[in-house]
Structure formats: C-alpha cells, structure tokens
C-alpha cells in the first residue's frame, strides 16, 4: 500500500511538471490533483521514471525558484537602493516623509529580505514535501 501511495504521488508530479512546467505548476497542480485521484494508478510510476529523474526535476524546480527569489533580492537592494535611487527619490511617492529610494535603501530592502526568506522557507519546504525528499527528523 505504501508503494502504491508513492506511485500516485510520483504520477501527479510527473504530469504537473510535464504539462505546466515547474514554476507555474503550483497553482494548477491543485486542479490536476482532482483529476488524478480518479485515474487508474496501478502502474507505479517510480519504476518507470526512476529515482534519478525525480531528482533532476526537483533540482530544476529548486533552481527556478532560486532565480525568482534572487531576482527579487537584486531588485529591492541593488535596483531600488542603489542603481535607480535618485530617480525613485525624485519621481516616486514618499514613504511618510522619506524619499522612496532612500527609504528602500535604509528600511524597505531589509523588510523585503525578511519577507523573501519567509517565502523561500515556505516554498522550499513545500517543494521538499511534494517531491518526498524531506529528511527524517532524526539524523
């Protein structure tokens, strides 16, 4: 029974990944999950796909999320805080009475970093659970 469960999970991931791509797969996976639950899942996909493939997909999904997170990271710090600061100071709204670019450099970027890490933790722990690679609690 345990093997069968794993088979179901793997099929689901495989389909989501192939039809929708990794990055966009999270929301749509819910819809497909509904369909999948009624499918004939007697063929354990794990044997066909092999372990190496699942690992590759996990790694690729991982990398794509990293790019999104690091893109945001660069934008809020180097982008808003340094490269476009003068422009933002002049042209964008003020935060309270502070110019936007200056505020991003001294406060906004730090707040964004905290939110970014929280998002990262949620996404990655979700990814681990989804691909069944999360470590056991004991070492």
């Amino acid at each position: 029974m345990g093997n069968l469960r794993n088979g179901i999970r793997n099929t689901r991931i495989w389909l989501v990944v192939n039809e929708k791509g990794y990055g966009s797969g999270f929301l749509s996976s819910c819809a497909i999950r509904g369909l999948l639950d009624h499918k004939d899942t007697k063929v354990p996909m794990r044997n066909i796909q092999g372990k190496g493939d699942a690992q590759d997909r996990y790694w690729k999904a991982n990398l794509q999320w990293l790019i999104v997170i690091l893109g945001t990271w660069f934008f809020v710090s180097f982008g808003c805080g340094i490269l476009f600061r003068e422009w933002l100071d002049e042209n964008l709204f003020r935060v309270g009475t502070a110019p936007f670019g200056f505020w991003m450099a001294q406060q906004g970027s730090i707040i964004s970093f905290v939110l970014l890490l929280i998002a990262y933790t949620k996404i990655m722990n979700g990814l681990d659970a989804k691909f069944k690679v999360d470590e056991e609690d004991s070492k």
Partner: protein, 591 residues
C-alpha cells in the same frame, strides 16, 4: 547613583549570566565543542546566530557611519542583511546536508584534494583574523569608555574575557550564551532609540519617527528634510544623498553581501540545527532578529546627527556638555579652536576652500600633546588644516555610545547600552575565535598534519590556537587597518567574497568544477583582494589610484568576479572531477 555604578551593575550582571551559562553548558566532547551536539532548536539557534552575526561593527560602528555619512551608510545595512538572504538560499541548506563541521572540510572533500583544503584553511584564518581585529577594536572602545582608559588597555581587558569563555565553553556554551547576549543587545539598542524618537519626533516607534516629522521646538517639519537642511547649511552633502560614487557604493554593498555568504563562522552556525527544514526556519528567525536591530540603526544614526550638531555646533567649549570632555579624555573627540573664538564649529567639506576636504587636522587620528589650550581643551600635535573652517573631530565609532548622553537619557539606559555593546563584540569574537581554533585544530592538525590526533589533543590544540589568534587580534585591535570598526570588518567580507563564495557556489551548482579550477580561483581572488587592501591601507596608495574608483572596501567584489573567471577557465582546461564527486554533489543537492 553615579553613572559608573550603573555601568558596573549592568555589565557585572550580564557577565555573570554569560559566564554562568558558558560554565553550565561547557563542552564535554569534540562534537559538542564544534557544533553543540547538533540539537539546538531553530528559534534559539536563530537568536544565537543573530548575536553572532551582529558584531561590534554593527552595534557600535554602523549607526555612527550612518550618522556621519547618511545614505552612504546604507551599504552596511543592505550588504549585511542582503548577504544573509544569499547565504540562506545558496549555501546553508546544501552545506548542512553535506554534514561536515567546517567550510575547509567541504572544500577539501568536494575538491578531493589536500591542497584545496589547505588553501581554504589559510583563507579562513585570514578572514577570521581580519574580522576579529574589528571586534577587538570594538571591545577596546567600550572598555576605554567604561573605565576612562585608552583603547589599547581596553583591548587587552576585552581579549582576556573573550579568551576565557570562548575557550571554556566551545560551541555549546557559546550558543546559549549568545541567546542571552541577543536579548541584551536588542534591548540596549532599541530602548535608547525609543526615548530619543519621542524627544525629537513625538513618535514612539523610531522607524516611524524617521519617516515622520521633526517636532522638537517649533513647527513640525519632515524629519529627513530637516536633516538635509542641517547638513547642507554646514557644508555637508544632503543626508539622503551621501557622497560615494555609484560604482563604489555598488561594489562595497556587493562585497559585503557575497562576503557574508562566504563567512565561515556564520555558515558553521547552521550545522547546529538538526535537519534542512529546521535550518531554513532557523534562518528566517535569524534574519527577523537581525532586522529588529538593522531597522533601528538608521534611526539612531539620523537622531544622533541632529543631536550632535544641535548640542555642539556654535557652542562655546566652556558651555559644552560634560560628555564632550569625557570623549576628549579618551581621545575619541578633539577640537582645535582655529578662529580663536572659544566656540566649537562643525563644518563639512563644502565650506572649505577646495570645497572637498573638511579635515580638521593633518593625519587620520588626533595625537594629543601635554597641556591645555586657552579654553581648557586638550591640545593636539597634529597640524591644523587652515583651508577648512571645521574644528571638530570625532571617531565615528563613538556615536552609538554618545547618543544617549547627547540626548540626556537616564543613566541606566546608558549602562544598558554599554552592556549591549560588550555583548555584541564578545559574541562575535567568541564565535570567530571558535572557527579559527577549529580551522587550526580540526582542519589543519587532524586532517592534514597528524591524522591520529585524539579528541582530547584536538581540543587542546583548539584552545592553544585561540590563544594565538587572540594575541594577533589584540595587536591589530590596537593598530587597526581601517579608520573605524565597520571599515576593518568590511575588509574581512571582501576577503571572504573573493575566496570562499565562488568555491562554495560552484562546488554546489556546477558538477564540472574541479580542484584545479577551485584552487586557482581561490588563490587569485584572495591574493588580488588582499594585495589591493594592503597597498591602499599600509603602502600609501592614494584615492586617485583606485581601480575604476573602487575603494579597498569594495574590491572584494572584483576579486570575486576574477575568482569566478579563473575557476571556470581553468576547470575547462583541466581534467573533469571523478564520478564519485559528481555523485557527492548530487547527494548535497537533495535534502
């Protein structure tokens, strides 16, 4: 009660607490010594890491830098917090999965070579030593303030204390001590800021004060506009603009960020948590705790500037507040009455003849002469710079400590702040010392020189190594390479960025990276960066010689790019790594 008494009570109590914890949790085995036995909760580990992370540079120097350079100081704010994001998403989970105790361990195994391990050890030692110098300087400043003695004596007192409890407790002791230290630091940093925010802006939350109105005396005006006006009136650039060039600002921030992600003493912290999930959670906690202090620092800097100018500018020396003489006594402030009017004038570069140089005197720091001047001030042997009307010199590092006194806060707040400063410097110094001693005892002695070392001997080596490291750190703490703590520390980050960051990143994200590439890259990166720093700090290089206008603080970023290029080119020209290394990388990538 006198200020001294309050100081002794607060510092004494906090010390008793730290030493008590360190003693109770002292390490029994090597595993406990290095990674606290691996069972620390994410929350506690987050707090301890935050304390480890926030060094004397953060606590003492950063707000002072912000106060004197305004927007330019953002490089430290963004650099250190942003680097933490990089560290968490690019390094920590993978290194944690790899499961070795130290960074040279990872480099040595991933690049299947003793030479790579050796290069990594040398880099780690250089980085930690540079970093610890900054901490020792910070400790020295606090103790000199506390006892009214010179900085050298303060450095020596601080070093003795660090040695005792870092050597005694090992990582286990340090982790729990650091939890206590974080709490002390957080209160010490935020409470004065709240008091001052209420006084200046009427806001209880300092961060709102910064973006709110200045209300002290007269009509409310936007706080930052008020500050800009104060600055420009005195010949400084606008507080919200700063004066660093964009490329320098970019490079320094980048060097701090990537350096953070390659700092061995922070990476090692995450080996103390039990699995990758917990590591991520722990990192979230850490950054949140760090943010509490980093979001307060800009407010302290801005408030301090308003207070400093308000209290001192155009005040006659005789009427100057008592703290001015105290700081003068310890050599942290100096005044030359250039126009002989008996009043302290503070002017920026804009008021000087060249419009660029607002120096009070020739040389970097004041050298005091015997005797006093006409108003009773301490005389200097430095030649006054007559082209600038500026008469006031102060060390940037004292701003945080001077701040509550400028604002006239209660004595216990000042004492709390002192305790916080010491906690910040000690926690980081202890963590660094531990990594340094591990590098020598574990990586060098056990793995390279003498593989049959017993556990007991290893700990003995570790303690010996920390003593040696401390002696070096004391010497450099007394003769620092940078003019203020944050600058010295920035060098350490540049070195880490240019040596470790590419080797670690490529080790995880590129299966084809081989030992030849990694070694060549690390050696090129660190030699280039170290050479540049030494040339401009010790061998008399001048600003006009800077490469593309990049200062030594930011050169680590260029060193890092060089490292990447050399690593990749060399690895393509030499044999690919063996299959078992590719398998190792695969294992590291999956939690």
């Amino acid at each position: 009660m006198s200020q001294d008494l309050w100081n002794y009570i607060f510092i004494g109590t906090s010390f008793a607490l730290y030493i008590g914890i360190a003693f109770k949790q002292r390490a029994g085995s090597t595993k406990e010594y290095y990674v606290a036995g691996g069972g620390v909760s994410p929350f506690a580990n987050g707090m301890a890491t935050a304390a480890d992370w926030m060094s004397a540079a953060t606590f003492i120097s950063m707000a002072g830098t912000l106060a004197s350079s305004g927007y330019d100081g953002s490089r430290f704010l963004m650099g250190w917090t942003g680097g933490f994001v990089l560290l968490t998403v690019l390094m920590v989970p993978f290194l944690r999965k790899f499961g070795k105790a130290t960074v040279p361990d990872f480099i040595g195994d991933r690049y299947y070579s003793k030479a790579a391990r050796l290069v990594a050890i040398v880099c780690a030692i250089f980085i930690c030593l540079t970093y610890i110098m900054g901490q020792m300087r910070g400790v020295g400043i606090v103790f000199s303030q506390l006892f009214g003695i010179g900085i050298p004596a303060g450095v020596i007192i601080g070093a003795t204390i660090v040695f005792f409890y870092a050597g005694l407790g090992g990582m286990k002791g340090i982790t729990y001590t650091q939890v206590a230290q974080y709490c002390v630091m957080a209160f010490a940093y935020t409470i004065p800021a709240i008091f001052i925010a209420i006084a200046l802006t009427g806001d209880v939350v300092p961060q709102l004060g910064l973006i709110g109105d200045f209300t002290k005396g007269g009509d409310p005006t936007p706080f930052l506009e008020k500050l800009n006006k104060i600055n420009t009136d005195l010949g400084f650039s606008k507080y919200t603009d700063g004066s660093l060039s964009k490329i320098d600002m970019f490079c320094i921030t980048a060097a701090l960020m990537f350096g953070t992600a390659g700092l061995p003493h922070v990476i090692v912290r995450f080996f103390t948590v039990k699995n990758v999930k917990a590591v991520r959670r722990s990192a979230c906690w850490t950054l949140s705790f760090i943010a509490v202090i980093y979001l307060t620092a800009p407010t302290i800097g801005a408030f301090a500037r308003v207070n400093l100018i308000g209290e001192l500018h155009d005040t006659s020396y005789k009427d100057a507040p008592a703290w001015f003489q105290d700081f003068e006594e310890t050599g942290q402030m100096a005044w030359i009455d250039k126009n002989g009017d008996g009043k302290i004038q503070y002017f920026g570069p804009g008021k000087s003849e060249s419009g660029k140089d607002g120096a009070v005197f020739a040389g970097k720091a004041p050298i005091f002469a015997e005797g006093v001047g006409a108003s009773g001030e301490r005389l200097l042997t430095n030649d006054p710079v007559s082209a600038s009307p500026n008469e006031l010199w102060f060390g940037k590092d004292i701003m945080v400590m001077a701040n509550p006194r400028m604002a006239g806060l209660p004595k216990w707040v000042i004492a709390l702040l002192m305790a916080g400063c010491i906690a910040a410097a000690l926690s980081t110094a202890a963590g660094l010392l531990l990594v340094l001693s591990t590098s020598i005892s574990h990586d060098l002695m056990k793995k390279v020189v003498k593989p049959d070392l017993t556990d007991k001997e290893e700990i003995k080596w570790a303690r010996l190594a920390s003593l040696g490291a401390l002696l070096v750190a004391v010497w450099f703490g007394i003769n620092p390479p940078g003019t203020f703590v944050a600058k010295t520390v920035a060098f350490a980050f540049g070195l880490a960025a240019s040596s470790f960051f590419p080797a670690l990143l490529l080790g995880i994200f590129s299966k084809g990276m081989n030992k030849e590439g990694a070694i060549a890259g690390m050696v090129t990166g660190i030699l280039f960066t170290l050479g540049y720093i030494i040339y401009f700090t010790y061998l008399g290089g001048t600003k006009s010689q800077y490469l593309w206008g990049i200062s030594p603080e930011g050169i680590g970023f260029i060193g890092m790019i060089l490292n990447f290029i050399v690593s990749i080119v060399v690895s393509r020209l030499t044999p690919a790594p063996p299959q078992e290394i590719r398998d190792l990388v695969d294992r590291v990538r999956h939690p």
